[in-house]
């Protein structure tokens, strides 16, 4: 069997010290296989974002072991962590986090530039990523000239531009209307059908309904883990759409 993309062993993250210690993530064990589509749900404050930030190497766990694509992240220095974020992970934030006053294509080029991809090739790949999210017409728009849904699609294009093995999304549809939500979910279905591993945090059952596997968190622990569709094969809704012509 191929090695899992994510392997967490007793990972904890605590904030504060002494009497006011908050265990945002509490001894979590988790294995996510390549090609899986995982939705993480749970009440506000249950530790979803904290877990996601650790998965994305944006934050480090207080204790426990996290292997990403077989690489133990604790052993990595700052330099190699940056490289991991650049090559292996695409991160989509609830608040988009695009660089202001900078065109969509320049934003998408960013991870490619840090990966050392040069001029023309970089531009081509960025434009291709924007085409995949349906924004071929908006290449030179600044974030302020785009709707929330379009900005989130630019952010997704940026996340997939380097072809990472893992796509992480923290409430990607939290700031979007239902129409934009449908667009983003269709995009995720497509990306997963094409083999990309996706972990998405959400409060919405509609979003969770697209995933192959649903985790529920409570007080920093994973309290339920349900599988809706096999790891191999298309995600449930994508299949449904394809099934009815």
């Amino acid at each position: 069997m191929r090695r899992p993309v994510i392997e967490l062993r007793s990972v904890s993250k605590t904030y504060g010290r002494g009497d006011v210690v908050v265990r945002a993530v509490d001894r979590v064990d988790l294995v996510v296989e390549r090609g899986d589509y995982v939705a993480v749900m749970g009440a506000s404050g249950s530790g979803k974002s904290t877990l996601m930030n650790i998965l994305g190497c944006l934050d480090v766990p207080t204790s426990g072991r996290y292997a990403l694509d077989g690489v133990d992240t604790r052993r990595l220095d700052e330099r190699r962590q940056s490289m991991i974020r650049n090559r292996k992970i695409g991160f989509v934030f609830q608040s988009f986090n695009l660089i202001p006053r900078t065109s969509a294509v320049s934003n998408v080029e960013l991870p490619l530039a840090y990966a050392g991809v040069r001029g023309g090739e970089r531009r081509r790949r960025a434009v291709r990523a924007l085409e995949r999210v349906g924004l071929a017409e908006r290449v030179h728009h600044k974030p302020s000239e785009l709707s929330g849904g379009q900005q989130q699609r630019v952010a997704i294009a940026r996340a997939i531009a380097t072809d990472p093995v893992l796509l992480l999304a923290d409430e990607p549809t939290g700031a979007l209307d239902s129409h934009s939500t449908t667009d983003v979910l269709a995009l995720f279905d497509e990306l997963n059908a094409a083999g990309r591993t996706i972990v998405v945090i959400t409060h919405e059952d509609e979003v969770a309904g697209h995933a192959k596997r649903v985790l529920r968190m409570l007080d920093g622990r994973i309290v339920s883990d349900q599988r809706a569709a096999p790891v191999v094969g298309p995600p449930p809704r994508h299949a449904a759409r394809v099934a009815q012509p």
Binding site: S82, N97, L98, S106, A113, Y114
Partner: protein
């Protein structure tokens, strides 16, 4: 990531934040330009003062009766004939006076080898010149020997100079300054040569017009004067009392101190001063130049300090802008790190942004400073001091770099999540 790429990000960063870039640059521009301009004002003023003073001649001494009261006098004291001897040094009851014999005693190759020539001077006050119904109040009426003209560096621009014969024959001949001549006959004044004018009612024949000194010196209009033989002036205007002053030409500018000592010794002996306070005062143009140099130097330092303050104010402006934008920029740094930027990429980009802003701001500041600094303001030419250009540029660029990089470097050290959460 290569340097070209980082430079491209830096240029984009500058272009994407136009207001911030403009404000940062304007702080640096104001700082640099004001330092250059204010120092140019100080340097220009000091050069102008020095130039007008150097017309007094750097190797002349002027001896006046009375003890040195410590006050700086500008120019030969025209009114000193009126000096009341009783108000001078308290212990010495002898009237402080300079005589013709004192002047002659100074021409002593043995005791005073550095004295080249000597001119006794009497001045007549309140002299009015009249000619064919025109009249003019003369600021300075000097009676002296022909060597006076040599010592004070005077020539005639029309007519002839006074001669030794005029002096010994007690001829009522006069040289007039251009201001006097113009006021009496108009034009360039040369029409007055050969004419007879009344000086306080006494007829003098004008033999020449003194060459124009030009600019107003510290003692007022230097061309508003009349020079006549000492003997004639004593005969007609002042009587045969003491001298107003003695002018001495020193053999070389370097010998001013030696000559001063020699003159002090000779007059001290003649006036039986012993170890007491001399009853005469010697001053040289060099002394005045030094004193004025000190004052203008102080002026330059003061303007420099004001300029330094504006540099600091500009720097604080730059600092404020940098600190205010740091929230936004820290988020940007968080985003860049989240998508894989190395710390060195981020710091490099912000360093280059700061370099671009500070250096172009500094260069614009220099351009403005040098442009304004080569103007003529209030009658004198501003002079740009190269050191001020270098100093202002270096300091303001350093400020720009520091406040550009320091917050960025701090932010680049954060974990991506902390940079993204920054508020």
């Amino acid at each position: 990531m290569n340097l070209v790429q980082i430079l491209q990000f830096a240029v984009r960063g500058v272009a994407a934040n136009k207001l911030r870039s403009a404000l940062t640059m304007s702080g640096i521009i104001i700082g640099v330009a004001s330092v250059i301009i204010l120092v140019a004002v100080g340097t220009g003023a000091s050069a102008a003062a020095t130039e007008s003073l150097s017309s007094l001649g750097s190797n002349t001494l002027t001896i006046t009766p009375g003890a040195d009261d410590g006050a700086i006098q500008f120019g030969p004291p025209a009114e000193s004939a009126e000096t009341d001897p009783e108000t001078d040094s308290g212990t010495d009851v002898r009237a402080a006076q300079l005589t013709l014999q004192d002047a002659e005693a100074l021409l002593d190759p043995e005791l005073a080898p550095d004295v080249a020539s000597v001119a006794p001077v009497v001045t007549a006050n309140g002299v009015t010149a009249t000619y064919r119904g025109e009249s003019h109040q003369v600021a300075s009426m000097v009676g002296s020997t022909p060597s006076y003209l040599v010592i004070s560096d005077d020539t005639v621009q029309a007519g002839a100079a006074l001669t030794e014969t005029d002096h010994t024959a007690r001829t009522r001949a006069a040289l007039v300054g251009v201001t006097v001549a113009r006021n009496l006959v108009g034009g360039d004044g040369s029409a007055l040569v050969g004419e007879v004018v009344q000086l306080s009612g006494v007829s003098y024949q004008v033999v020449g017009v003194l060459t124009e000194k030009g600019s107003d010196g510290p003692g007022g209009d230097q061309d508003d004067r009349v020079v006549a033989p000492l003997t004639a002036v004593q005969d007609t205007l002042t009587g045969y009392g003491p001298l107003s002053s003695i002018s001495v030409k020193v053999s070389a500018p370097e010998a001013v101190d030696a000559a001063t000592a020699q003159v002090t010794a000779i007059l001290g002996t003649r006036h039986r001063i012993g170890t007491g306070t001399p009853d005469f005062t010697i001053f040289s143009a060099t002394q005045i130049l030094e004193a004025v140099g000190e004052i203008t130097g102080l002026l330059t330092v003061m303007l420099g300090a004001i300029a330094g303050i504006s540099l600091v104010v500009g720097g604080i402006g730059v600092m404020n802008i940098m600190l205010v934008t740091v929230t936004e920029r820290t988020r940007e740094i968080g985003i860049r790190k989240a998508v894989g930027a190395q710390r060195s990429d981020v710091v490099g980009q912000f360093l280059l942004e700061a370099v671009i802003l500070s250096i172009s701001g500094g260069l614009i500041g220099i351009a403005i400073g040098v442009a304004v600094g080569s103007l003529e303001v209030a009658g004198f030419q501003l002079i740009v001091a190269p050191a001020s250009v270098v100093l202002a540029f270096v300091v303001s660029v350093a400020i720009g770099l520091f406040f550009g990089i320091y917050p960025a470097n701090k932010a680049a050290k954060l974990r991506p999540i902390d940079a993204l959460r920054h508020e």
